[in-house]
Every structure is written in structure tokens, then in C-alpha cells.
């Protein structure tokens, strides 16, 4: 409750009330079922009301929700025989990006995604999902493994951005991202990109090149954080909500700008309210998109991928 965004308060309060009644009901061995059912119906209604009227800034808050499922949560629900692969074979294993292979719907997939970590200790060890160059180099290494052995690739994007630090610059964070963008485009297997939380600028794009790019309903994707934009435009972060509006960073905005191919729905209260349900929706989408791509010739995949990003943008001529 302490960490929940303001708009979620009525939902959380109702949920707590229902839990209370339920335990009361158990103690009394029945009698309150009708009351509970009424409250549960009310809860669905409130959820729908709250989540269908979110402002862009509230969507930012939801995308950053501390309980939002991360890559390894989705891996756990969706991918069988999961094997995590570590390290970039050059410098280190960056825990802000995880990579591995697992099976979904009987098909092996390379999975690469940001990982923010759940508790304080984990968040620190994963640097809050902000990768260093070695994270991007690990991602590319494992994705190329997919290319080499004909294994399709899924990436999950959820990062505030690449880490702005001395070591990151010394080891060429810009070069690592640039090389990833170029070289991932040339990997000869289907690549499905899904923005699951925060799509934070170049730090997102470093694993954001693919044949199809999807966003979960409450994910965001932006060239700069609303806070960063506000401090440049208005010299004050307190205008972050205005910046969130101006940047057009919601899934629906990006669909309208032809930057993404589609939106993957989330459970009624958002992915964090039902991680298993969110995983199911994600899994179904991955299988559907994979089936559209699996028979396309590798050379055609690559050409179309380059053309896809080549079309993006608007200008006068």
C-alpha cells in the first residue's frame, strides 16, 4: 500500500476489505459470502473505472509499479526447461539484463530482457534494471546464438535507461548500443520485441530491434523520461505530468505513430494485479506472432526489419 500510486488507492482499499472479510468469514465458518461477492463485484467495477481513465503520467507510474512483473517472472510462468546464460565473455555478467533459452508452446526461444529485481538487495545487484555495456554485449552474444542455431528470439523491455556512470562510458556504452541496433537487425531468425514496463530511451532500443514490436497495455516507451523532459523544458521536475502528456509515450500513442505493431492486453487491474494472467496473455501473443514469422525466409526477415525501421518518422518533403 505504501508503494502504490495514488490512483490505485481505492482498489487497494477494497482489496484489503475483502481480505479482511474473508478471514473473518473463515473464523465464523460462513455467513458473509454474499457480502464478499458484492464487494468483489464492486472491485471489478472500480478497477475498470480507474484503469480506463489513467492520465499519461499515471500510466508512467503503473509501468514503474514496484509489483509489476519483470522478465524472470514471465520466464517462470511461460518458459519450460529454462537455462540462463551469463556474461559477455569480455568483462562481466551484467545482472540488469538476463538472457537464456526456454521452451514456449513446444518451441525453444532465446529470451533476453531487462531485470529490475524485486527487493532492495536484488534491485541493487541488478542496478535497478539499468544496464552497463556488458549487458548489451551479453544480450547480443546470446541473440546471435539464437541466429546461429535457428532459435527464435523474444526480448522483454523494462528499463529506466542505460546506466549513466563512469565505467559505462569508459567501456563504450554508446558503442555497445549502436552495435546492438545494427547487428540485431541482421540476425537471421524471427525476433519479437515486447515492451513490458518502462521503455527507457537508448537503453531500451539496445534490445529493441525486431520483426515485430509490441507493447503491453500499460507500458510506456519514450526518448527521455518525463522528469528529464520537464527539467529541460520547464527547468523543474514537478512538471513531469505535463511532460508525460507532451511526449506521447503510451502504448496507444505509439500505435498511432506507427512505431509499434500492436498492444497486448493486461488483466483488469494491470499486470501486477494478476501476473499469471498477464503471462498467459503475453504467451498467447508470442505464439501467435511467432506463427506469422516462422516460415519467412531469413533474408526476407532481415530486409523487412531494416525497411520497417527505415519507414519510421514524419517530415515534409
Amino acid at each position: 500500500m505504501a508503494n502504490c500510486p495514488e490512483f490505485e488507492r481505492p482498489i487497494v482499499e477494497l482489496q484489503e476489505k475483502i481480505e479482511e472479510l474473508k478471514s473473518l468469514n473463515e473464523g465464523k465458518s460462513g455467513g458473509l459470502e454474499k457480502e464478499i461477492k458484492k464487494l468483489e463485484e464492486r472491485l471489478s467495477k472500480v478497477k475498470e473505472e480507474v484503469l480506463s481513465n489513467l492520465s499519461p503520467w499515471e500510466k508512467v507510474e503503473l509501468a514503474r509499479h514496484p509489483n509489476r512483473p519483470y522478465t524472470l517472472n514471465y520466464v517462470k510462468y511461460l518458459f519450460k526447461d529454462w537455462v540462463e546464460l551469463h556474461g559477455d565473455r569480455r568483462f562481466a555478467d551484467d545482472k540488469a539484463i538476463v538472457a537464456g533459452i526456454g521452451k514456449l508452446g513446444g518451441v525453444s526461444f532465446v529470451v533476453v530482457g531487462h531485470e529490475k529485481g524485486r527487493n532492495v538487495r536484488e534491485r541493487i545487484s541488478r542496478n535497478f534494471g539499468m544496464p552497463h555495456p556488458e549487458g548489451y554485449r551479453k544480450a547480443l552474444r546470446v541473440m546471435k546464438l539464437g541466429g546461429k542455431f535457428g532459435i527464435p528470439i523474444v526480448t522483454f523491455i523494462d528499463t529506466p535507461g542505460a546506466y549513466p556512470g563512469i565505467g559505462a562510458e569508459e567501456r563504450g556504452i554508446a558503442m555497445a548500443i549502436a552495435e546492438n541496433i545494427k547487428e540485431i537487425a541482421a540476425i537471421p531468425v524471427p525476433i519479437i520485441v515486447i515492451i513490458t514496463g518502462e521503455g527507457g530511451s537508448g537503453g531500451a532500443l539496445g534490445i529493441g530491434i525486431g520483426d515485430r514490436v509490441y507493447m503491453q497495455k500499460f507500458a510506456i516507451y519514450s526518448v527521455i523520461s518525463p522528469e528529464g523532459c520537464a527539467s529541460i523544458l520547464w527547468r523543474d521536475q514537478k512538471y513531469k505530468a505535463d511532460a508525460a502528456e507532451a511526449l506521447k509515450l503510451t502504448a496507444r500513442d505509439l500505435k498511432g505513430l506507427n512505431v509499434i505493431d500492436g498492444i497486448i492486453s493486461e488483466p483488469l487491474g494491470g499486470a501486477h494485479s494478476d501476473p499469471e494472467g498477464a503471462s498467459r496473455l503475453l504467451g498467447e501473443a508470442i505464439i501467435k506472432v511467432y506463427n506469422e514469422l516462422k516460415d519467412v525466409l531469413p533474408s526476407e526477415l532481415i530486409d523487412k526489419r531494416i525497411e520497417k525501421f527505415g519507414r519510421m518518422g514524419f517530415f515534409k518533403e
Binding site: 542505460a162 546506466y163 549513466p164 556512470g165 563512469i166 559505462a168 562510458e169 569508459e170 567501456r171 563504450g172 556504452i173 554508446a174 558503442m175 548500443i177 549502436a178 552495435e179 541496433i181 545494427k182 537487425a185 541482421a186 530511451s201 537508448g202 532500443l205 539496445g206 529493441g208 530491434i209 516507451y221 519514450s222 526518448v223 527521455i224 523532459c229 529541460i232 523544458l233 507532451a246 511526449l247 506521447k248 509515450l249 500513442d253 505509439l254 505513430l257 512505431v259 532481415i302 526489419r305 531494416i306 525501421f309 527505415g310 519510421m312 518518422g313 514524419f314 517530415f315 515534409k316 518533403e317
Partner: protein, 272 residues
């Protein structure tokens, strides 16, 4: 063309652009008050400390290319306002008036010592050399032309990164340009000038077959202030400057402005 003629051309171009005003100018490098004419003669480099003043795209054109050899392409490409972003059209108009350019880059063909090349030169005076849809599209087309015409590609970068006013679309220009380079089958020389940062450094600027930096240029992904605020420590001396990048193995060489043309020419002689 002889050296003193080139200097004259640069001098003429600098004068035409009227930068900077007045007879005297203070060097940002050493603080020395210098006679403006002296610096112009020196390709806008401080004769005392070698500080490289920021210069316009048209001056790079006269430094790098044979006289009258530049033929611009896609000059009519101009920004639209897809996000209806606060004050963006006004900002664009002001920049267009100030620079006589439609956006922050010029692209086309030119010659170096008689050799045909495809060249792009960014212009920092246009909204900080930021990359929006026009810059991305022009770079992509230059890459495609270089491939189609089998010309080597030279890109001079001067930029603060992606253009915030075009939001996610400006981020996608990184994808547009960097993925297009997969199809380039000719040599690509990337020249990084002060500053080359963020989204442009994290796309085409870092993907040259050879990467050259001008002395003292700020070259980095994250801005120094952002890094300092994040790590809450003093940044090391010379952090994110060309020489730092060279020391960390991230650029091939640091080249004085007066040697830029000759260096590119020699490199192309080897690579083409």
C-alpha cells in the same frame, strides 16, 4: 587546392556566417583574448592552446571538400510536428532562419582530392544538432546512395543527441540509421566533433569503419551533469573528451582540424 587557398575559403565562409561578432574573441580553452582574423586563418582553432571552436556545417564543407564540389541532396526535407509538441514549430522556424538550413544536417556528394564521396555534415546551430525524423531520414538516404553509387561515406557529427520534440520518433531514427548501415558495402568514416553525444553517438556515429575525433571534443552517451548527479562524485579530469575516448579504445585517432582532410584522403586511399 593549396593550403593558403583553403584557409582563405574558410575565412570567407566564416565571415559570411558572421561568427563570432567583433574583432576580438575569447578562447574557451585558454581564456586568451584573440584577434578574430587570426583564428579564422587557423580554421577556427586557437593558435595558443589548440582549442577547436565549434564551426558550421558549411565551414566543414570548405575544410574537407574540393572547392565547389559539394552537391546537396534532400535539401527540401523539413521537420513536421507529429507530436504537436509545445513551441516546436516556432523553434524550428527560428533555427531555420538562423542557419538557412531546413534541419540539422547537410547531405550530398562532394570530392576530396578529386575522389567522389557521399558526405553528411551535422550542424550544431540547428537546435543543438539534434536528430529528429529529418536528420534520420537524410542519413538513411545518404547511406543508401553511398551503397547505390558505390561511394565511400563520410559523416561529420556535431550533436546533443535525439530531438526531444519528436519524442519516440526521434529515438527511432537511431534504429533507422544504424540498421540501414547493414546494407552499406563501402567504407564509412565517422568524424566526431564537439559535441557528439547521446542518441547520435549510440547509433551511426559509433559505427564508422574508422572513427576520427577532433581534439577536445565532448564525446559520450550520458551528459556529464547527469552522470555527476547519479554517482554523486567528481568526474575525472578530461572525462568524455576525445583523448579519454582514445585512451579507452573507443575511437581510432584524434586529429587536428588542419589535418582532417589529409587524413580522410589517405584513409580512403587505403580503403577504397
Amino acid at each position: 587546392m593549396k593550403w593558403f587557398e583553403r584557409r582563405k575559403r574558410v575565412e570567407k565562409e566564416s565571415k559570411r556566417k558572421e561568427i563570432p561578432d567583433g574583432f576580438w574573441i575569447k578562447c574557451d580553452g585558454c581564456g586568451e583574448i584573440l584577434y578574430k582574423k587570426e583564428i579564422m586563418k587557423n580554421l577556427m582553432v586557437c593558435p595558443k592552446c589548440n582549442y577547436h571552436f565549434r564551426i558550421d556545417s558549411s565551414i566543414y564543407e570548405s575544410i574537407l571538400l574540393d572547392e565547389e564540389s559539394f552537391k546537396a541532396e534532400d535539401e527540401n526535407l523539413a521537420p513536421s510536428d507529429p507530436l504537436r509538441f509545445r513551441n516546436y514549430p516556432e523553434k524550428v522556424k527560428k533555427a531555420q532562419k538562423k542557419t538557412s538550413l531546413n534541419d540539422a544536417i547537410i547531405c550530398g556528394q562532394g570530392k576530396i582530392e578529386g575522389r567522389d564521396i557521399e558526405i553528411c555534415i551535422m550542424d550544431f546551430n540547428f537546435i543543438g544538432g539534434s536528430m529528429g525524423s529529418v536528420v534520420g531520414e537524410k542519413v538513411k538516404r545518404a547511406i543508401q546512395r553511398a551503397s547505390g553509387l558505390e561511394l565511400p561515406l563520410v559523416i561529420v557529427s556535431a550533436t546533443g543527441g535525439a530531438r526531444m520534440h519528436e519524442g519516440i520518433l526521434s529515438l527511432m531514427q537511431m534504429a533507422k540509421t544504424a540498421t540501414a548501415l547493414n546494407k552499406l558495402n563501402t567504407p564509412f568514416i565517422s568524424i566526431l566533433t564537439h559535441p557528439t553525444t547521446a542518441g547520435v553517438l549510440a547509433s551511426y556515429a559509433s559505427l564508422g569503419d574508422v572513427i576520427i575525433a577532433e581534439p577536445g571534443a565532448l564525446i559520450g552517451f550520458a551528459g556529464p551533469r547527469v552522470i555527476q548527479q547519479t554517482i554523486k562524485k567528481e568526474l575525472p579530469e578530461g572525462f568524455q573528451r576525445s583523448e579519454f575516448m582514445l585512451g579507452h579504445g573507443l575511437v581510432d585517432m584524434v586529429v587536428h582540424r588542419k589535418d582532417l582532410r589529409e587524413t580522410v584522403n589517405i584513409l580512403l586511399g587505403h580503403l577504397c
